[in-house]
Subunit: 346 residues, 2 copies
DNA sequence: ATTAGCACTCGCCGGCGACGAGTGCTAGTC
DNA sequence: GACTAGCACTCGTCGCCGGCGAGTGCTAAT
């Protein structure tokens, strides 16, 4: 689809994007011309820029204004950043120092990572907590908290705690509950919640037939517990930093933006799909993001445990951001977080 | 200090405030005049308004504009609202219906209350969770989560769970931990964390002398656990609704505002001081709120358990809000929340 | 293919005048 | 003495106009 672009065209695009990122103003042909090593006239640049506009990489707010990158232009720019390894070096040590010191729980770690991302990028930090179905259960506990209520509690690797209160028959004694928890713990400790769910649901009918009351209770409670399994959470930090960006100050845009933070399931969905690859995903503009995040870019990577993605973290900011800094920042934070989690689960 | 205000002066103030609340525009003398039952001329009103301005209740953006209430004016207005019982009736049933249905945990309940406040008021809902030192402990559990780490976990009335991971000696066995937890549970279940702290710290030296290893361990762990006792949390919902208000759209103001939500300790402090009385506290403007919340009003009330305040909840919005609706809304929500908590802890 | 030159476009900014909402004051009335 | 009609005055808003300047597109020359 995208017609070929001359090598010089690509260079011009880079210069326009970079100039626009720092200035926020439409970029004119002369300022681009001075950015070249070889001397070149602004007229030539104008010619190239006209082509780039025809191809959809640049956009002119009005005749007689400079050019601004389109989303397509940003994407191409970022692509080149990756291909040419023009990303900045990030000091991974400083991140490691600020993340790993005395963090004792995965939850704390992720909160720290989130504010770190926000602070270092000057944009919004976002973290998707581990999907419950992928977490490994260490302890299972059933506690009575009222005549007809019990708290089902499980602790996963790294010290994360998930709980759910359900109604239970009043006839169940405390020791029934304890026995049920022990039964489940014996069978399932060390497995992920996904595995437990599969095995419980598969084996359900067979096991239900067993006339062993504590076991039946255990399984029944376990199933109810899994039914209410929480979704992965989304942490958001530094939302106020979005207001630094003059290009995002129209009232309606902001309204939509902050509404997205109030109800972060959308963000969660997007983050869930990020990750996979080695490099961070860079989602630019409305094409792959919810409409409310129109003028924004999400840079996200997943953090791993034993080589499998557990969750994702990243930075959300205006399309006009320092990609060459933020991309490696996200990548480094994801790596360090993965390491730290591995250590916590040791 | 505040000189006497004529009865008609007070009536004019009411009318100005109410008109400004609905229109957001400076209020002129003629529109006030038509709001009176008896016919009265705008010239007279102008006279009265000039007096009110001299007393600091009204403010004129510029000569030849209408009047806008000052913070002092709002305060006087709200005072009258209370004294004259001119608050609207709130349908407590509908709140009860939306809060108490199938809420099984205090945490969920408070989250629901928070979004309910935001939704019904169209402003920001805020909730201060129960102060840990006032909560009653039901269960205590110590779980090993790594070679040198243990998760200290306690469940309080109503199904709230608090955890903390600490480093422990590798020599402690699982049964040591279990014994320690049991020891603490035996002695302290049913007491508030504040009581436990006091008793542990008082009795510390005496008990440490005992050559009973499990007990020493238990007490040591308990102390470390209480040291890291979390602060009460602040829940915030519907921050984006602040953007509906045109008077709060200056970039800097918004920046400060949202920064306050990102770092809610300030809000927590303010909320902690609210409550006490029967009626909600109404904090108008910068005088009693952090500077960042300049043009805002916080209406807050505390929710109770056994007649003692546990935490607080309320609504944060622009000074220009419908006090006559929001105050009873907050009061009703606090009442219903107190009831629901009582039920959950039964 | 590149470039110098040039006419042209168009947003920005400051000044200007008309408009109108709302005021403060004064003089007259009950 | 309290109230009010009338009136001059203030001042923000809006639309208009013209000059400025950044930046463009085109053309003709190299």
């Amino acid at each position: 689809m995208s017609k070929k672009i001359s090598p010089r065209g690509a260079a011009v695009l880079d210069l326009v994007v970079e100039a626009y990122i720092v200035s926020g103003q439409p970029v004119g042909s002369t300022s681009v011309a001075t950015g070249f090593d070889e001397p070149i006239s602004s007229a030539t640049i104008r010619h190239v820029m006209a082509e780039l506009e025809a191809l959809g990489y640049l956009f002119q707010p009005h005749t007689s204004a400079g050019r601004v990158p389109t989303e397509k232009g940003y994407r191409r720019y970022v692509e080149r950043l990756f291909r040419q390894r023009r990303l900045r070096r990030i000091d991974e040590h400083s991140i490691r120092r600020r993340l790993s010191t005395a963090q004792l729980e995965v939850g704390d770690l992720l909160h720290r990572a989130c504010s770190l991302l926000s602070e270092l990028s000057n944009h919004v930090g976002v973290v998707l907590t581990p999907r419950p179905s992928r977490t490994i259960v260490q302890h299972i506990e059933f506690l009575r908290t009222g005549v007809d209520r019990a708290l089902l509690l499980f602790v996963t690797q790294g010290g994360m705690v998930h709980t759910r209160t359900i109604k239970v028959s009043e006839e169940l004694t405390d020791s029934d509950l304890a026995a049920a928890a022990e039964y489940l713990a014996d069978r399932f400790a060390g497995h992920t919640l996904g595995e437990i769910r599969d095995r419980l649901l598969d084996g359900w009918e067979v096991e239900a037939a067993i006339e062993n009351r504590p076991q039946r209770t255990a399984i029944e409670l376990g199933v109810r517990w899994l039914e209410g399994l929480g979704q992965a959470e989304v942490l958001v930090e530094g939302a106020s930093r979005l207001l630094d960006n003059p290009e995002l100050s129209s009232a309606e845009v902001l309204q939509d933006l902050f509404a997205t933070f109030d109800e972060p399931t959308q963000l969660g969905n997007v983050l869930t799909e990020c990750g996979g690859g080695n490099d961070p995903s860079v989602l630019i503009g409305g094409e792959r993001l919810p409409a409310a995040l129109g003028g924004c870019t999400l840079i996200a990577a997943s953090y791993m445990s034993d080589g499998r993605p557990m969750g994702a973290l990243g930075v959300l900011g205006p399309t006009r951001m320092h990609y060459d800094l933020t991309i490696p920042l996200v990548a480094a934070t994801a790596r360090v977080t993965s390491e730290a989690i591995a250590e916590l689960c040791s």
